[in-house]
Homo-oligomer: 248 residues x 4
């Protein structure tokens, strides 16, 4: 790992170019907005990436040095190449990169293939959400009160067809009678994944200071661990006995 | 295990004797109400027990043949003897009895000592609750729709200071903006524990057909397993080598 | 679900046709051997399937009525069509079919894509293994002693690059100094998956009565649950409010 | 939390005073040996405590400023006062202190009451153990190879009657055919607990550099989190509505 943590914020970046409402909320794109609140942390080196960039925003060279990848996609999940998804998947499993999946990314190829899930849920009209802190001692909840309010967010509703998270950190309450597992941690291979519900393209959730703090915390929670040996590729054959090492 | 499943429904049974409102809702006591809907299952042999009975309702002889214990307590948790709690704890850990803890039992000695938790939460006025089915494929959710409504239930609110459940089956939504992990499975030692939120003494939740179905399902989920060997007590010393069994 | 449980035992079925040693151990194929010990249970309706059969052994029609799929593959994982893998994956996630993955199936496309893992491990010479029962109260451990011996099995060695299992039921000890998480339960979507280590094509593990009992137990543990509502496909939009159902 | 992390190493400290063999291995006591390798970290402020000290080594004042407690006990578990155990338990649950339980501490009142377990296991003669790294990306495994050897350690054997750990980081292989879940993480309330198997009073395991590294890592893993609000005591009543906070 380089001294700074290399963070790539990937955004589908279509809504903000084609829809005036979204453009007004996120004039620099959702990824630009996220960069603006992350960049106050000088230990992060932040790169923006978008679907319509060369290499769909993530060249093999860029991926090779990425420590943490944030992913926001929605209407163009199917356009993301299987080959890119597979490279991301392998890097996460190898423990070389952490992954933060935001909002509608629950249905991205990246989330579905890495976590092993359909990511299906129900959804509805934008409304008030209250985020409850279910695991106040988790790193991702550092500095977060027992609950906070998001004045307007898209309804995402249970049942959410995910495997049980390794840690369920936040739960969402919605005006219309619905709840959602809004902040979920998964470990897959040697990599960590955090899914976070807020972030609809028509809402201002990424300006919420608690949403910002959670995403900052998550960058540090998912970042690669200090693994004590070289992880082999594939399934190596063992030709010695561990017991031969006794009394050496 | 006998052919029938021996179920003991333990109830503090004070509110129903001293408060007319509760008595009108549960004239036979909460335990009596639960018995009424469980007894339609002829494979269950059901015993009622109450705090003010001899041996606080659970003699050593009764405990010795109990397969599943349901526990409802509230204002007299401190009156339950430590010795009874310890006997229940050991029987659950030994895998000889499953435990279902209802509503205000979250603060009982039994729940706190067996699960390892303070069981703390916040609470408030009775109101509408919607129970969401987070794990529709769990045995305890068999036959339960994606959600159902409880017209009036006491507010129990997150953060609920429990260890992460082994399975989080149900989540509760409340009118006033709160959520709760309403149906939680724990495994402790060789025993299973299910905690279920509904069941305030001033509400009619135990008449709700889905609440009834969930409790019925839970009886079968927590019941003792078919363990393949005699579980030793304490920490036995091993005087042979497992490797001596090779080529016998 | 039909009255009988429809079980399909899928086998790559190449070793037993091309290698005399394997053929002598499993003259009817590994799948035939498994069928022989499962068929004593009259509530199972068992179908054999092999890679070189029409439709790679599993036509859409067969899959549509399969409740439990057992999977043994090794040298031809890459030949299994992505389309078949995807159909299996969706059926497991939908909770319509359970999956049991045996031995070298840890590296099958089916296991890797459904669970979300590389399935990597190290391996070595055939040797004595002792299987330890880590969770004696789990359904899959019913009737299994605290440990049992497999006189000869292929070495599979940690680190095994899987997500933490929802339940770790068995652990393996090997002569040469290695251990392995030999019996692992996963829940993905509405489906259940069990991975079990024993079953090398050059070893007689499928004749071991405890291995047989574990596989029998697993058939019942992974089988589809009684889900209480129609699971929607994809992500349906909600157009009403749950709160509108109050006082109906 | 003060700037330095306040670490208390509690040791029963009887064997090393009454048995020459133990005294020769650990002339400053097991706690003294642990202090010697922890104190190279200048951000730790380390206090030694023993059963026969005043207040059984841990006065209310000392406990009040302890961030991380290490616990080694064996033959005198029953002498530790219930009142001390309860104070430790409440401090862990409140997220004000992390706990590391070493070796025979599996049967201490502290471990059993906090985690909710009998802590039972089987045990036998000292022998070679190989520790396998099951979760190389866990903080506690930082810098640890895929396996390492302990030339002599007391046999601890499965089944270990603990609840499934939140993370199973290490597994032990023993010469005589046994395995053990040697490194287990638990979360209880807002506190973290790590159990680690090596550390018999007749063995030199605490001089093993990997054992030392694991304990150092664990100090940082269990240390209190940065919780974002004042945790209430008991079960406070809610007298407002969360929904009243909208549009404020």
């Amino acid at each position: 790992m380089s001294e700074k943590l290399n963070v790539v914020i990937w955004n589908e970046y279509r809504h903000e170019k084609h829809d005036e409402v979204c453009a007004n909320i996120y004039p620099e794109g959702i990824h630009g907005c996220i960069k603006n609140f992350l960049k106050t942390d000088e230990s992060l080196d932040i790169t923006l990436a978008a679907l319509d960039d060369t290499d769909q925003g993530i060249s093999p060279e860029l991926l090779e040095k990425t420590d943490v990848l944030l992913w926001w996609g929605h209407m163009a999940h199917h356009e993301v190449s299987d080959e890119l998804v597979e490279r991301i998947r392998q890097r996460v499993y190898a423990g070389k990169m952490g992954l933060i999946v935001l909002h509608s990314g629950h249905h991205s190829k990246v989330f579905r293939s890495i976590v092993g899930t359909t990511g299906n849920l129900s959804w509805g009209r934008d409304q008030k959400e209250i985020i409850w802190n279910l695991m106040p001692s988790h790193h991702i909840a550092a500095g977060i009160p027992d609950h906070f309010i998001i004045e307007e967010e898209e309804l995402y509703c249970e049942p959410f067809y995910i495997p049980q998270p390794d840690a369920l950190v936040f739960g969402g309450w919605y005006e219309d009678g619905y709840i959602f597992r809004s902040g979920c941690c998964f470990t897959r291979g040697l990599g960590k994944i955090f899914y976070f519900q807020p972030g609809h393209e028509y809402c201002r959730s990424f300006y919420n200071p608690y949403v910002q703090r959670i995403i900052k915390n998550a960058v540090y929670w998912v970042k690669p661990a200090d693994i004590g040996y070289e992880i082999p590729e594939g399934c190596p054959m063992i030709v010695t006995k561990a017991t031969d090492e006794f009394n050496k």
